[in-house]
């Protein structure tokens, strides 16, 4: 949460803010800190078996690759592509618990080619999302946008690891 939030806040603060907007942003940040304190679960995540983590990581990477391919090589666009992959995952993987992980991966696939430039990088970011999904199981459960935040963390970490950056 902290990684994408810090980057976004830094970019917001680059824009000229009047004192009124500054007060509003500060107040919202205060409420968000209270929400984080209230929503985060204190207990440690249960240790995951390597097989479970691997399966989830592959599901997320599959979702990421499918969305990226649909978004870049068809006229659908990234938003509709993520919808197609989400509905497909919800149908195909309905008997397992993997549809949510695949949908988290789909958010990675919404990245622009200027950020994730090739399919192997998208796959790596998807794998990282799957690992994060299992590692952070139970933390911020029930908070909408949790999957997207994991995807954003995975994309930013993959960019940093690949020696890239963002402007």
């Amino acid at each position: 949460m902290v990684i994408p939030a810090s980057v976004a806040v830094w970019q917001v603060l680059q824009q000229p803010l009047g004192w009124r907007r500054g007060v509003v942003v500060g107040l919202l940040a205060l409420l968000m800190a209270l929400g984080i304190k209230d929503s985060v679960r204190k207990e440690r995540c249960a240790a995951k078996r390597a097989g479970v983590m691997l399966t989830t990581a592959f599901a997320a990477a599959g979702g990421a690759l499918a969305t990226y391919v649909l978004a870049q090589y068809t006229p659908l666009g990234s938003i509709a592509a993520s919808g197609v992959v989400g509905l497909g995952a919800a149908y195909v993987l309905r008997r397992s618990d993997l549809s949510t992980a695949a949908y988290a991966g789909a958010f990675v696939g919404m990245s622009s080619p200027a950020v994730l430039s090739s399919l192997p990088v998208v796959a790596i970011a998807g794998l990282v999302t799957g690992v994060l999904y299992e590692t952070l199981d139970g933390i911020f459960d029930g908070v909408g946008g949790r999957l997207g935040t994991m995807a954003a963390i995975a994309v930013l970490v993959t960019l940093l690891a690949a020696g890239g950056g963002w402007s």
């Binding site: 949460m1 994408p4 980057v7 976004a8 970019q11 917001v12 919202l28 205060l30 409420l31 968000m32 800190a33 209270l34 929400g35 984080i36 304190k37 209230d38 929503s39 990421a64 659908l76 666009g77 990234s78 938003i79 509709a80 592509a81 993520s82 919808g83 197609v84 992959v85 989400g86 509905l87 995952a89 919800a90 549809s99 949510t100 949908y103 958010f107 990675v108 696939g109 919404m110 990245s111 622009s112 200027a114 950020v115 994730l116 970011a125 459960d141 029930g142 908070v143 909408g144 946008g145 949790r146 999957l147 997207g148 935040t149 994991m150 995807a151 954003a152 995975a154 994309v155 963002w166």
Partner: protein, 132 residues
């Protein structure tokens, strides 16, 4: 622009919330259906359609919140409105980074949770001062 951002966010958030409640869709199904519908239709309607589709998708992620977090349509409308506001303010941030809209949705839900908590504390304080 901000007005349409708020309107589309509230509509998408409520659609996701009611889709889960009334049609018994899973959170992934409800959110993906809204993303697909918004992503296909809105860009055809106006020049700002792509941005509004992103706002609708952001609100649909917020609608994936559990019933413990957001449990009435009015609360969902509030969270979705926050999503629309944050998406509007942050439209130039994290551009092209996958998961950006989800991060905005999570921020909106957490701000809402913080607001609820603060409201409860204020009510407790007010109740305490009334008893004294």
């Amino acid at each position: 622009m901000l007005f349409w951002s708020l309107v589309s966010a509230v509509a998408a958030g409520l659609a996701g919330f009611l889709g889960r409640k009334l049609l018994k869709l899973s959170s992934v199904q409800a959110s993906a259906a809204i993303a697909l519908l918004a992503g296909v239709t809105l860009p055809q309607l106006s020049s700002e359609g792509a941005y509004l589709a992103a706002v609708c998708t952001c609100a649909s992620y917020a609608a994936m919140s559990s019933e413990k977090m957001v449990y009435t349509p009015l609360q969902m409308a509030g969270v979705s409105g926050l999503c629309g506001l944050i998406a509007y303010v942050g439209r130039d941030c994290l551009v092209g980074v996958g998961g950006r809209l989800g991060t905005y949705a999570a921020a909106a839900v957490l701000i809402f949770a913080g607001g609820m908590r603060a409201g409860e504390q204020l009510q407790l304080l007010r109740g305490g001062s009334m008893q004294q």
